[in-house]
């Protein structure tokens, strides 16, 4: 007991001494400076990202139109994500239905399960989960591919052959991401609802007629559309962040590794934030 009080005292003394030294050396003056430098850096990064984004979008509207690259990216982002989307869609649908059914049973309204699950999936979980799962697979892959091209001078080689690397590499990925995510979300939701049906009707033996009637009641075409619009925004975001991180990669293999991880982390955070703001203010 005594020793621990003594420990605290020593700690307080040391902290005070540290504080005094900071004041003596006036090193606190560096705090605003480093905060300032940090903010400037962030603003510059945002500006650079904004320019790149604008350039990639603008490049869509002038020839050449690169259909082959676009379809290749559709294939890569969409087709190759089918397994992961199917698995997670099924899991989310089943888990959600089971939990909801148990909770709703306490209020005697377990017949609402289908409607509630459909609503949550269409509006929120479908777009969000599909985007997060695809982000993990695709943003990292895009960042790795473009980043490797950057550090091995393949992007310079494109430039040397008078090909705009932004148009060649970024634009097709952005369009593909934007267009394919709603499709993946629909698949996710469909599989989720199949799981929901299995749990509710086959497992819990609820009434099938009411199940479908409630889905009809709860989910209108507007809800579905809102979810799909949101998912295409997510698709743009995750493709762009992968592209951005890859395009400005520096420092060899290690740099590519960092770009890859950062793309996934930043992608997830931005998707979650966007989801919140869209939910709160727009849709």
């Amino acid at each position: 007991m005594k020793r621990s009080i003594f420990g605290v005292k020593a700690w307080v003394a040391a902290s005070l001494e540290g504080l005094a030294q900071t004041i003596r050396e006036q090193s606190y003056r560096q705090v605003p400076e480093s905060v300032g430098r940090f903010s400037i850096h962030q603003v510059l990064t945002l500006g650079r990202a904004g320019f790149l984004c604008a350039a990639a979008v603008a490049a869509l509207f002038r020839p050449p139109f690169r259909w082959r690259l676009f379809t290749k990216q559709l294939e890569f982002i969409g087709n190759k994500s089918l397994v992961v989307i199917t698995l997670t869609g099924f899991a989310v649908g089943a888990i959600l239905s089971l939990q909801l059914a148990h909770t709703l049973r306490n209020f005697g309204s377990e017949n609402l399960v289908g409607g509630v699950v459909a609503l949550i999936m269409a509006r929120e979980l479908g777009p969000l989960m599909a985007a997060l799962m695809i982000n993990g697979r695709v943003a990292s892959a895009i960042a790795a591919e473009i980043g490797t091209m950057r550090v091995t001078e393949q992007i310079d080689a494109l430039e040397s052959m008078a090909v705009d690397p932004v148009q060649y590499l970024l634009s097709p990925r952005l369009v593909a991401g934007t267009l394919i995510l709603p499709v993946m979300t629909m698949i996710f939701n469909m599989i989720g609802m199949i799981a929901c049906w299995l749990v509710s009707i086959v497992l819990l033996q609820l009434d099938e007629g009411v199940f479908f009637a409630k889905i009809d009641d709860f989910v209108g075409i507007a809800e579905i559309l809102k979810g799909l619009i949101k998912s295409s925004i997510f698709g743009f975001i995750l493709a762009f962040i992968g592209c951005y991180k890859g395009f400005y990669t520096r420092g060899g293999a290690q740099g590519v590794g960092q770009a890859t991880t950062q793309a996934v982390v930043i992608g997830s955070v931005v998707i979650l934030l966007t989801d919140y703001f869209i939910g709160a203010f727009l849709l």
Binding site: P64, E145, T148, M149, T152, E153, Q154, D156, A157, E159, S160, M161, A162, V163, D164
Partner: protein, 249 residues
């Protein structure tokens, strides 16, 4: 003609080019020599516009490139070909597609014509039966030659070679030297070649430029280079340890 006028360039605090004056005359083969890290590749990247000088001017065909915007650069690069030091092949494409890439981008040739042209270029660089290989399955020397074939695919007016023969065996080096000489003689193009190999430099060069500590220390005809008593050039050519070269910088 390509002309550097008092070009300086630093990366961070490290000065690389420190007032470089040189010309690469039209229709000639200019060879740039200099120790590793002297800034030879940086010079080529300035010519391509990937790097902009801190100070000084670069003139291409009588035009001041500091006034070129992105679009003008791109337009002019169609007349340029470049072989990168590490080849920079597109690893998502096979050998054939790599060489065909500039043709597909900038010509309206039919697929058959492109195939014929590609095979022609691959044969020129001594690569046959490799057209379907993935670029990642090639040896360093083979990659170099694919890069070379790609650089000359469009028969550009200006070709920049960043060490075309490093990593090649002596016979292929000779083949490449001969290729450079022959195609240049045929087309009358402007070639700039970076090289470490003095025997090969003497074989192909009309003009030799030597870079040392950010400046041009020698810039004259091949014959003058062979006979010069400039101690830096002599030491470099003979590869001696003792001499004016500052080895540890």
């Amino acid at each position: 003609m390509i002309r550097f006028e008092q070009v300086t360039k630093s990366f961070g605090a490290q000065p690389i080019l420190n007032g470089v004056d040189l010309t690469f005359p039209k229709g000639k083969i200019s060879v740039v020599i200099g120790r590793s890290g002297a800034g030879k590749s940086v010079i080529l990247k300035h010519v391509m516009g990937f790097i902009k000088p801190d100070n000084g001017k670069i003139w291409i065909g009588g035009e001041d490139t500091s006034e070129w915007d992105q679009k003008t650069w791109r337009h002019n690069r169609k007349r340029f070909g470049m072989l990168f030091q590490d080849s920079a092949l597109f690893d998502s494409m096979d050998v054939m597609e790599n060489v065909a890439f500039p043709l597909r981008e900038h010509t309206h040739k039919s697929e058959e014509e492109i195939q014929t042209l590609v095979m022609e270029k691959l044969k020129l660089v001594g690569l046959v039966n490799a057209e379907k290989k993935a670029t990642t399955d090639l040896s360093g020397g083979m990659r170099k030659r694919v890069g070379l074939a790609r650089a000359i695919a469009l028969d550009p007016e200006v070709v920049l070679f960043d060490e075309p023969s490093s990593g090649l065996d002596p016979i292929v080096t000779h083949v490449i030297d001969q290729l450079i000489l022959d195609t240049q003689a045929q087309t009358g193009c402007t070639y700039v070649v970076i090289s470490h190999d003095m025997a090969s430099a003497y074989r192909i060069a009309d003009k030799i430029t030597m870079l040392y500590e950010g400046k041009v220390v020698f810039d004259d005809t091949t014959q003058a280079a062979q006979n010069t008593d400039n101690p830096l050039v002599r030491q470099f050519v003979e590869g001696q340890l003792n001499g004016p070269f500052n080895i540890y910088y």
